[in-house]
Symmetry: D2
Subunit: 334 residues, 4 copies
């Protein structure tokens, strides 16, 4: 039997999720596309052959013909809708962040623990990206020796609007790095420092962060939301015996006009399409079996990402190294 999935949110992320459900997930059916904008929900549903379109997410979650839910609506709805899914006893793949507030993440964790079973998978899809998979495999295989550092560069072509701030770089963009580095290194953060260089114009400047871990590693993260030249994600894991680096993924190189060049994408969609597919396939298996996917992010991971982002914003605003204090990892998430 196919898993009938409702996708809540029909913006860029939601439409992408809906397309993956419709086109890349055998064993799943795109049952409902839901958006506050009913016309947009209908358009996406029609284009992808969904059974239905809707505009009330709570009602969708409750529908008998919906087995599992993907939440890709605006950030502030993530936690409430995840709670609704837990209450309805349905598995949910919640886009990152679970919440920008660690306190709200705790609420979801408590609800899930109270329900006594796993319901929430958080959509930090980088864990499924082949580059990080290979980096983690190299570390786990022992060839690099003990991990010492991980350097990360997160560059977007340009911010969608001029209101984007350094704090938002930390709360909206950097969590991808916060989560995947924790996952690759299998550590928690203990402190974070943050800086911004000065730009000559009005758009947000890059944010540079140095994080310390409970394993004694250093993690550097540059988030450059106005990198101007392209969408470019880099990472290097440095161990005591050597290093492993993400390589740019390109299929051709052009030799023209005294130049030998590969192309950058203008956004993340090409680079991470395969990671989303893998993640969502894992979610379908989760929805079928109730067994939480081995490498997926859960509510605890969502909480950790929110906590380090909160500390990062404080570090940026105060100019001081800020401790990343966290609750003890609950037994439920051990």
């Amino acid at each position: 039997m196919s898993i009938r999935i409702a996708v809540i949110g029909a913006g860029i992320m939601g439409a992408d999720h809906a397309a993956i459900v419709a086109q890349d997930l055998p064993g799943a059916v795109l049952q409902v596309v839901c958006d506050m904008d009913a016309a947009r929900a209908r358009a996406v549903a029609d284009q992808l052959g969904a059974a239905d379109a809707a505009s009330d997410p709570q009602a969708v979650i409750a529908r008998a013909d919906v087995d599992a839910v993907i939440v890709a609506s605006p950030d502030f709805t993530h936690a409430p809708l995840s709670l609704a899914c837990i209450a309805a006893g349905k598995r949910v793949l919640c886009e990152k962040p679970l919440s920008q507030s660690s306190a709200e993440c705790l609420t979801v964790m408590e609800a899930e623990a109270a329900a006594g079973a796993r319901f929430v998978q958080v959509g930090f899809m980088r864990r499924y990206d082949q580059s990080y998979v290979e980096m983690k495999a190299a570390l786990d295989a022992g060839t690099l020796g003990r991990a010492l550092m991980m350097h990360n560069f997160h560059r977007n072509l340009a911010t969608p609007n001029a209101a984007f701030t350094g704090a938002m770089a930390i709360t909206n963009s950097a969590p991808h790095e916060f989560d995947v580095v924790r996952h690759v290194l299998d550590v928690e953060y203990t402190a974070i420092s943050a800086w911004q260089p000065r730009r000559s114009d009005d758009v947000v400047a890059p944010v540079v962060m140095v994080l310390e871990t409970d394993g004694g590693q250093l993690v550097t993260v540059e988030v450059n939301n106005n990198a101007a030249y392209g969408y470019d994600i880099r990472a290097e894991l440095v161990g005591e015996a050597g290093s492993v680096s993400m390589t740019p993924v390109a299929y051709t190189r052009a030799d023209l006009n005294l130049s030998s060049a590969t192309r950058y994408d203008s956004d993340w969609r090409g680079r991470y399409h395969e990671a989303y597919v893998r993640q969502n396939r894992a979610f379908v298996r989760f929805a079928e079996t109730g067994i939480f996917p081995q490498i997926a992010s859960d509510c605890w991971d969502g909480y950790c990402a929110a906590r380090v982002a909160e500390a990062g914003v404080e570090a940026l605003q105060t100019g001081r190294k800020t401790a990343v204090t966290m609750i003890e990892r609950p037994e439920f998430y051990a």
Copy 2:
């Protein structure tokens, strides 16, 4: 309604096709896995959740619960089974080659033309590979100017057995290049020359070919079935204004022991998985609509690949440049 697909042949290629049908083709169902070795068919069918297993391909093609067929059995069966599919009025994705004999390819072409509709898609999946797609797009966009040359390198780790010959390199391996270069350049071959260097051991030496086209281009192809270092496919398209080259696809690079290294695969499966998926999705749409996929290979392409391979074998055996004579392209395939 889902297209119910039978996969004939449960060896490496057949099992890969069956897995793609089962896991990567929404809108398709793996209905039957068929192999002369009934136990092997059953094992693959069970592993992938196929509805049934079988050992008689003709009976499978005739089944009412089979809408379309993928033929991945031994080469000599390709043409007869394709003919059976045409006779049964079912679309077939026939693994390359359609036949190693151009005469037998003609038989299939005639049957298809007589049937008055397209039934046969030939599995030259490289046309769907992102590198070739980008090469063709660069050429078609005019940035390279007119095409002058295409250089191709086809390297396997090692031949499966010591009986592999230079002629087999031309008839079994090189057709991938013969077909995709014809497709990228939109030309036919007019002549071929072939050489082999001398190895110091018993395994088959590389074959180097130079082909001439009716567009005035030169095409070089090296097939090195015992390259020893890895599975490695390279191609460069040289135009009057510049050049576009396939780049190696890697996700990480390791720095260890005074070396900075990326890895080669040991076979084609990782490199071309995505191309097979795209090709097979195109086949599902073909089976649904009867509209032949825009960039897929058809029987005419299968015939052309067989003809140039026949001429290549003659060139290698005689040591002389050999004309590639072909029938006129039938109206049906225009």
Copy 3:
């Protein structure tokens, strides 16, 4: 007339300088090789065809048949010998650092200013390296827009001995980055922060630094003296419009054993040979003309490197961001 050069110090650096004078500097003659170890001086002198060998550096500086001096003896001798050269009215190329003490650098600056002419070139050869030359040219050409960040990675195979400390990584290794980044960006540092991850063994761990500049840029420097995998220097200059990165310099790539690999050197000598030659050629012209080379480091640069290193050591020891306070740039060095 050839410039007769004395090289003081016949260790690795001194012998390399002597070889460059003898083999790569038309217009210069290797007149004397001087080392406290007279036998070593003699061996290097004989091997390279120097006119003489000696063991007393002060006497060598005073010799009438010595026109100019290269100081490559231990660090603590750099400032005293540079002072002796100023007193003797001879141009000196002093290996980095001018002194590890900024106070001692001031002494040399004062002596040079009192002499009323330029005598001292400091051997930060990276300014002459083609990669940095191209990075600075790209910035100066305006294609990158305003500089925002510069990321630097300085990796050695292994420390020469176990007594090497994180403070030494800052005072001995990082000054190369401190100087060349100041040069490329044309800025001064205002603050520095420093960290070390934890290693599992006794050798020195990497040091990670974040520097702020008076131009509002951020500069990151990783010094990893026990990188284990090879000698590897990386740098990236990020501007508002794009970025320019140092590329690894390799002449061949080997495809063997499922790996495609380039080689790392085990030390800096291959990578920077050409930079040393260019720097030393500039020094010969300086000795001939008295005109200080346009891009070379002078005593002010030596002072700046020492000051930021002192602040870096403090930052590492206190765990706090440390201001880089400096005297005003003297008129003499404007």
Copy 4:
């Protein structure tokens, strides 16, 4: 005592050689610059500080204050001037080709053998290029196994004039590959085939050649004199166990406008400057000692390059594989 060198020819190549003598060859002095155009000779001599300028090459060769000669005048003068040097008992570095006529090469060989000593070094500088040095070292070290193939691509931005022909691509450009491949593989050629694709304009089309060796190897050479995108030399040596490839030499990479790009040079001067310097240093030692440099090209090599070029032109004109017949290697060149 310095070797006093006369450079004959003050065009691009001659001026480059004169500059190398003046600036990169300790132990050598630029004594005379000679050119039929006396004003040009004078200009180059003055710019580089040569002792004298002249316009009669025979007189220059005879001068008592000239110890050795570099011939960089037009091709047709190479053999006569080399003969004059032999007659004068002076070592000569003769730019490639020794002669485009193998018969004329034989004349020089006979004169040299009659003189009973080595006088002529032929300027195939690629043997000194680091990439080929490493390729040969990898082969000689045995890691590649026995050599099977060598693939070569020789691309210029554009021909200097429209009168350049395919035959000239073989006689003027390809000899670099003919010589260095013979050297790396340590073989002689036995046959050559040649083709040209069709261009849409008037400039010379590329020439593609396949050569066979007496060691059983295949050698492919593409000479594309109007490659349009840049000066680009590639080579790959394929052995039974693996392969070694020349890598592009770049110092920086620019990330701008959705592109990650390295630059091509517009001519050979940057790429091969170091090879010329190394070659010319070897020539100075040859002039000093009379001992022929171990890896340099001699008259036999010049003859072999001319013979294969002659056969190549015939192959291109007849469209047939052409045997490369040669005299036996004379005892003198053994």
